[in-house]
């Protein structure tokens, strides 16, 4: 039996007013797969990622996560209707998200940031959540920063804390929105290392990134986007070795100098 994909996108369209940002995308992500999304800025990569957990609404097409339609449901006649808030929240809680600008909660310590979701959303006991949070923070190399406030951390430390916060919800998949783009060059490595170890453990990951080295070495497949469309989708060996599309080749020539 063929395993069902964890994320399935069909004919996805999204526009901001008259501006078409996503123009009919379709792809699948298998469980345990790492999909890297690359492409020039303004190509719709981040918007696509934000549609996956319905931080952004979409106008046409369908997104399925774990066999469930995201953001909509079908009424008796099979028409799409906006889904209930609680159902959308349940789906979001199953997808961890890591942002370019970290978005840690500045009024909470690192530990409080990490236990916030488990305690408030999942209703876990504080003790159990803290134990897991400490283990996660240890894992991302922040065991000594549990009581620190985010503003006192470097960008790399903040992003690792943000990854721990997302992992604390025990998500079925992780979405990364340019996780290293806001970092000083010398701090990029520590974040990529954490992501690489996650991938090695079999976490399903969708990563919007400008780190071509990461896409090449860690991703199972790479998706090249431009102007709201998928230009090319294939294994890194194809994308980086023998791109089928001249647009991919042109983009890579520019970013790889």
């Amino acid at each position: 039996m063929i395993e069902k994909p964890i994320i399935r996108v069909e004919g996805l369209r999204k526009n901001f007013g008259k501006l078409e940002v996503l123009r009919g995308l379709g792809f699948e992500v298998k469980r345990g797969e790492v999909l890297a999304i690359i492409g020039p800025s303004g190509s719709g990569k981040s918007t696509l990622l934000r549609c996956l957990n319905f931080l952004e609404d979409y106008q046409a097409g369908e997104i399925h996560f774990e066999e469930q339609l995201v953001g909509y449901r079908r009424d008796a006649k099979g028409r799409l209707k906006p889904d209930t808030e609680s159902s959308i929240r349940r789906i979001r809680a199953r997808m961890g998200m890591v942002f370019q600008s970290f978005n840690l909660f500045p009024h909470k310590t690192v530990l409080e940031n990490v236990i916030e979701g488990p305690v408030i959303v999942r209703g876990e006991s504080r003790g159990a959540a803290e134990a897991r949070a400490r283990a996660l923070l240890e894992r991302v190399g922040l065991a000594d920063k549990v009581a620190t406030y985010p503003t006192k951390l470097s960008g790399g430390q903040q992003q690792r804390a943000a990854i721990a916060r997302a992992l604390a919800m025990q998500p079925a998949a992780m979405l990364f929105d340019e996780p290293t783009s806001a970092l000083d060059p010398e701090l990029v490595g520590e974040v990529l290392e954490v992501m690489q170890s996650l991938a090695a453990e079999g976490m399903t990951m969708v990563v919007v990134t400008h780190e071509m080295g990461f896409a090449r070495q860690v991703a199972d497949r790479v998706m090249m986007m431009d102007r709201g469309e998928i230009v090319e989708l294939g294994p890194p060996s194809q994308i980086f070795g023998a791109p089928e599309s001249p647009r991919t080749a042109e983009f890579l020539r520019r970013v790889l100098h």
Binding site: G96, F99, N103, G117, R165
Partner: protein
């Protein structure tokens, strides 16, 4: 010009000021409670993307900010009973009137405070699966409130001084008591000076506290 200040006479009448302070405190407390509660609701409505929430809040805020509070108080005390049959006492009317008025300003403080919080914060809260209420209560408002403290203390000081308008509804607050006293003693300078000092003593501790709070939050980061 030999004006002779007579403070002893004021001291002899100190009970009058004690009574006045008590009523002023009661008015301030209720008006603040109403203003805060309604202000929060209006501020959230005003921040909403849904027009059916945003527009009524905006109308309320504009109407109350654009018309004199004196008229609002008189209206609530004298006109409301005629229209609705609901007659409140003068202290209740003054509390409600000042509270409704303050709510318009407090709503704007809440709205501006919420708007000042980076959108990434609500994105992060939502991505963890939080509801709107959870995100507001746990993530957005705690941060917004810190930025709201200085304008809020301004509003508090204004509100406490607005309670003197209760005198037009014959509420025995500080100013009204003082005016009665002046009618008996003919010592307006001493009396008004004491009124000013008493208001200063009532308000200053809150200003001091807010400065301490800001300092505390600044050092913690």
């Amino acid at each position: 010009m030999g004006y002779v200040w007579q403070w002893q006479m004021i001291w002899d009448y100190r009970q009058v000021f004690y009574r006045g302070v008590e009523v002023t405190a009661i008015l301030t407390f209720w008006a603040l409670l109403i203003g805060m509660a309604l202000g929060l609701v209006l501020g959230l409505m005003r921040s909403s993307r849904a027009a059916w929430l945003r527009v009524p809040a905006a109308v309320y805020i504009d109407v109350f900010r654009a018309t004199p509070i004196l008229v609002q108080l008189v209206w609530i005390y004298y006109a409301l009973p005629i229209l609705t049959g609901v007659q409140m006492g003068n202290i209740a009317s003054a509390s409600v009137g000042i509270g409704l008025h303050a709510a318009a300003y407090i709503a704007e403080i809440f709205r501006a405070g919420i708007a000042s919080i980076d959108r990434g914060q609500s994105d992060a809260a939502k991505s963890l699966g939080m509801s709107y209420g959870q995100a507001m209560r746990r993530i957005i408002l705690p941060q917004a409130v810190r930025r709201m403290v200085p304008p809020f203390i301004n509003e508090f000081a204004t509100l406490m001084k607005l309670t003197t308008l209760g005198s037009v509804l014959a509420v025995n607050e500080l100013l009204h008591e003082a005016e009665n006293l002046i009618n008996n003693t003919y010592r307006p300078l001493e009396t008004y000076t004491v009124v000013a000092i008493v208001f200063g003593l009532l308000i200053y501790p809150f200003i001091w506290l807010s400065q301490r709070l800001e300092q505390h939050w600044k050092t913690r980061g």
